[in-house]
């Protein structure tokens, strides 16, 4: 137990010595402090760290001022409200798809409506066009809408 306590105390002394040495190097007052044999090699590392990081040399004032202006501009850009303009891309896509569907259905109904069908077996769900024709028209309309959607996405 006593041995452990002595080691702990020795470690604490060593920790304090390295910390004080660091403070002295960073304050530029190493002349007043003599590193012990144990910390001499640590002193070299601490000095080199200070040289690499060079905390005493502040950023160039011109650079600081220029960066401050740049950041001010960036900050102002950030504050601009995100104004949604109409029509936006999404709206254009939806309107385009709806228009395509309506157009195809309209053309189909128009042309099938111009033919007078006297066939009583051609049961219709939509006026003068048969159910089959309506399904085909619907598929064509949806396909056309899909093409419109695909083309509008590619334009982005």
């Amino acid at each position: 137990m006593a041995h452990t306590e002595r080691n702990t105390e020795r470690d604490r002394d060593y920790d304090n010595e390295v910390a004080e040495l660091t403070d002295a190097v960073l304050e530029g007052s190493t002349g007043t402090m003599t590193a012990s044999a144990m910390t001499r090699d640590m002193e070299r590392v601490i000095i080199q760290l200070r040289n690499v990081i060079d905390p005493d040399t502040p950023p160039d004032p011109g650079f600081s001022a220029q960066l401050s202006r740049r950041l001010g501009q960036e900050f102002d850009l950030l504050q601009r409200p995100n104004v949604r303009k109409w029509p936006n891309q999404r709206m254009v896509q939806l309107v385009g798809m709806a228009a395509a569907i309506i157009f195809v259905l309209g053309v189909g109904i128009f042309f099938s409506g111009s033919e007078v069908s006297s066939d009583s077996t051609s049961g219709t769900a939509f006026g003068d066009i048969s159910v089959v024709e309506a399904i085909v028209l619907g598929v064509v309309a949806i396909g056309t809408a899909g093409v419109v959607f695909f083309l509008s996405k590619r334009q982005r």
Partner: protein, 183 residues
Amino acid sequence: MNRDASDEQLASLAQQGDKEAFLALYNRYLPKVHNRVKSRVPPQDAEDVTQEAFVAVVRSLPKFERRAKFNTWLYTIVNRQIADYYRRRGKGGNPGGEVSLEDVEHTARAGLYETDSLDERGLIQKALYTLPEHYQEIILLRFADGLSFQEIAEQRGQSLDAVKSLYRRAIESLRDQVGGTIN
């Protein structure tokens, strides 16, 4: 602007559109960020990387979560910008923000350091970034951020003895890495 405002208070004000609060944070952290960048990139590129880091900070400001510590968040962005710096030079780099030993060695050999400081500067930079993260951080808190050991202890919520012990072990580890190559 209240100079005693905490980083988190200033960040919160900045998020609400207070430009002066953001610039107060910038002035407070510019020297520290610049020092941290200097410890990891060639000196002639330190200003560029510092600038990129702060631009990334202002653009990411809306994403800062107020319950987090501002400096931790800030330094994460700085580390990412340093990693991007090495990646842009085609040296690879870990997307997580760590700079590999090969990156620093390659940059050093490519002559991006001033030739007369390549040996010691490169060695220390190389050795520093092979240290475990908690060793790197304690060294950067003291050297780059200029915090006293007492301030570091308060920031980390540790005892002064614990901080000094961690610091001593970090320096020992660094000394072991560079060996006898430093004069």
